[in-house]
């Protein structure tokens, strides 16, 4: 076991743990935002740079600071390491810059984007960005493309986190190029399209942090914050059948996987559960899904007095 401190809070973790995972063990505000890293996707991380932190002491053996900010998602923690996240003005400043870069070519079409309300980029810019934009240049544009009849790709919104690429890579051993071209003309390519046949392809919608990959069966049906997310399960031959059904009245508007408090899918669900079972009688409802207090999905529902952490969107009670 190794011991390190992040923003002056000590934590003990196993060797090989990354700084980000150590911070997640502490929880709360010391957890750096992660737009590309996904613990369930091998090879992910290192790309978006939102998780940059400052290492003021490399380890007990080597007390020197690291010369540059490092990506906490892909830097292993060391015994005696001293890390600064929100206590470092340099990190806060750099992160503002990263948010600015991520938004630079983003169309900001939240008013017509299905992801609005559950978008990591919205949360990121709200929590870590600046209020104004300094750019006045043209934004790059791509046509909207269908990836099969169930998923739509809005490449304009993509932040090239590669999560969908790694998801597709895990679903098949056939290597086809996931990203075409390079620089700011890079786009999600054929790889994904060829994976539409796969039983689990729909998970690319859930891993996508923005509205680049969306569920065509849910397109423009409702704002997510008007829906009631309920934990539900069904007897499924393909996956564990544990999902969230998003309801309005007695109708199921969409089905998604369950996400943990870091926004990661708990268990990938199959396309049958996701797309083919939209009748309430298909599902056994466990109860309301817990939603983070900060989320707009919890808006208009009752709020707690003191820091409630997570609230039940229906009853307004702490879970």
């Amino acid at each position: 076991m190794i011991r390190l401190t992040i923003d002056n809070i000590a934590v003990t973790v196993e060797e090989g743990t990354t700084i980000l995972q150590a911070a997640r063990k502490i929880g709360g505000k010391v957890v750096p935002p992660a737009m590309c890293y996904y613990s369930k996707l091998k090879g992910s991380g290192g790309k978006c740079r939102t998780c940059l932190v400052k290492v003021v002491q490399s380890s007990a053996k080597d007390p020197r600071p690291m010369p540059k900010l490092v990506a906490s998602c892909s830097t292993p923690a060391q015994d005696g390491m001293v890390v600064q996240n929100i206590t470092s003005p340099e990190v806060v400043e750099a992160r503002k810059g990263i948010v600015e870069f991520l938004l630079l070519n983003h169309p900001l079409d939240c008013p017509v984007c299905d992801q609005a309300g559950e978008c990591d980029l919205q949360d990121l810019s709200y929590g870590h960005g600046t209020e104004i934009t300094a750019t006045e240049e043209y934004r790059r544009e791509f046509p909207v493309t269908d990836i099969g009849d169930l998923i739509q790709l809005h490449m304009n919104r993509c932040i090239l986190c590669y999560r969908c690429v790694y998801t597709a890579e895990q679903l098949t051993d056939q290597r086809v190029h996931g990203v075409l071209y390079r620089g700011d003309t890079a786009e999600i390519g054929t790889f994904i399209a060829q994976n539409i046949d796969n039983d689990f392809s729909g998970n690319m919608i859930d891993v996508c942090p923005v509205g680049a990959l969306t569920d065509k069966t849910f397109r423009f049906k409702s704002r997510v914050w008007f829906l009631r997310p309920m934990d539900a399960y069904r007897d499924c031959r393909v996956c564990k059948g544990k999902a969230v059904i998003w309801m309005a009245g007695d109708e199921i508007y969409r089905v998604t996987a369950r996400k943990d408090r870091f926004g990661e899918v708990e268990d990938f669900i199959c396309n049958e559960c996701r797309f083919d079972h939209k009748h309430p009688e298909d599902w056994v409802v466990e109860g309301p899904r817990s939603i983070k207090r900060e989320s707009v999905i919890s808006a208009n529902h009752y709020l707690q007095k003191e820091d409630p952490g997570v609230i039940d969107p229906i009853k307004g009670t702490i879970t």
């Binding site: 740079r49 940059l52 700011d184």
Partner: protein
């Protein structure tokens, strides 16, 4: 005085052919290393020589070799980085074109020292004409028993393959190179793990520049100590400099490190002074990525001592008043050169070559290019100059690979040393030549 170590024999007709090269002492370094020395002794000579990587970073070669994972039972690889795509740098292609056997000799000796049995030359896609030259040379070396089984009648065996890239600058970054060599998209890898532990196909790998490897033969011939006696301080030996821009004699020169910059620019033996008898305005001394320096700071350091062509001297003053030796691409600009236009042009290159993997470089390079385009075309604002500085600062140090830094430094240094010229562009509102004050037609 110029000193020919790497380019020794280049004037000999037919030196590109094995027999001519051999009859002028070629491959005797291989014989010496393989027959008279242990691999450890060869590596120790290279360490003693003080040789530093010629690909840009200047990392001590002996030290890099010592990092190779010795515990692993996987095969080891040596990769020769011949992707040379940095604007202003054209030394490796010159060496490979004229003295391909010097590179092959170095590859054999380095492979012997590292315990490598398979070696790849990853060559820039545009260097198609060199692929034939190298493959012919490797074929000759095969025929004469210097590549293949039992080299020079010793138990050592080695195969060398030439692998052309598809013309991406980023594939010169060592981990992007490895990805590309494995047949994947040329995205730089997240480090750690470093190639010394997990390189090509997850095996221990050393990546070295063409010039670095080509220097190994001469080091074995003359001995590490004798090599270290050449040059100045920690900048030992000789270095190829590709000089271009507004000089009388552009070309590739081999210099002893420590040569005064002034002598290099104005000496008859080297660049021969500024073309058209104009005056010197600025120099980008180490390939397009390194900071630009105005005439006074390239000739003398901020403390007033003459600037030398060495790793240390060019870096003196760090980024406030210094630059870097880099890969040795020496770009000279005269009084008529437009710094804004030049910076825009370089930024265009980095924007085009960014792999797009990480957000600061993917987005920042394009943003800077658009702003510089506006400035150069008379549509800039004063606030753009500060904005450019801020963008470059947000990219620098925050990216996966050094291409981000390489894109940020030229912009930051151009503004640092030539802010007045940027301001003049905004004020004049037209494409403007700072010194001559006339409009350009382009």
């Amino acid at each position: 005085m110029g000193r020919a170590i790497l380019l020794n024999g280049i004037e000999i007709p037919g030196i590109r052919n094995f027999t001519t090269y051999r009859s002028h002492g070629g491959y005797s370094a291989v014989e010496k290393a393989l027959r008279e020395m242990t691999p450890a002794q060869v590596a120790a000579e290279v360490t003693r020589s003080g040789l530093r990587g010629r690909g840009g970073a200047g990392f001590p070669t002996g030290l890099k070799w010592s990092f190779l994972d010795k515990k692993s039972d996987k095969p080891r690889y040596l990769i020769c980085n011949a992707d040379e795509s940095e604007p202003g740098t054209f030394k490796d292609r010159f060496l490979m074109e004229h003295l391909p056997h010097r590179l092959i000799e170095g590859l054999i000796i380095a492979s012997y020292a590292l315990g490598v049995k398979t070696c790849y030359i990853y060559i820039r896609g545009e260097f198609k004409y060199l692929v034939g030259i190298l493959e012919k040379a490797i074929g000759e070396a095969h025929r004469y028993g210097f590549v293949g089984e039992n080299i020079a009648q010793t138990p050592f065996s080695l195969e060398i393959y030439v692998h052309p890239g598809a013309g991406a600058y980023i594939c010169g970054e060592e981990t992007a190179l490895l990805e590309s060599l494995e047949g994947k998209r040329g995205n730089p890898r997240i480090k750690p793990p470093f190639p010394a532990f997990k390189g090509l196909y997850g095996c221990p790998t050393v990546v070295n520049n063409v010039e670095t490897i080509a220097t190994v033969g001469p080091i074995i011939t003359m001995g590490g100590e004798a090599y270290a006696a050449i040059g100045k301080g920690k900048s030992t030996g000789t270095k190829l400099i590709s000089a271009c821009g507004n000089i009388k004699k552009p070309g590739v020169y081999e210099i002893e490190l420590g040569l005064p910059v002034e002598e290099f620019i104005f000496g008859e033996e080297y660049c021969g002074g500024i073309a058209g008898n104009k005056s010197l305005k600025a120099v980008i001394p180490g390939g397009s990525s390194v900071p630009i320096l105005p005439a006074d700071l390239i000739l003398n350091t901020a403390s007033g001592t003459p600037r030398l062509m060495s790793y240390e001297s060019l870096a003196e003053g760090e980024f406030t008043s210094g630059s870097m030796l880099g890969s040795g691409g020496f770009i000279v600009l005269n009084e008529e050169a437009c710094i804004v236009r030049n910076t825009w042009n370089l930024t265009r290159f980095y924007h085009h070559e960014s792999c797009g993997q990480c957000s600061p470089c993917r987005e920042g390079t394009g943003w800077m290019e658009k702003i510089l385009y506006r400035l150069e075309h008379g549509e800039g604002k004063m606030s753009d100059i500060d904005l450019l500085e801020r963008i470059s600062k947000n990219i620098e140090g925050n990216t996966i690979c050094p291409l981000g830094d390489a894109a940020a430094w030229p912009v930051a240094s151009a503004i640092r040393h030539f802010r007045d010229e940027f301001e003049a562009h905004v004020r004049e509102g037209k494409t403007f030549h700072a010194t001559v004050g006339k409009e350009t037609t382009n």
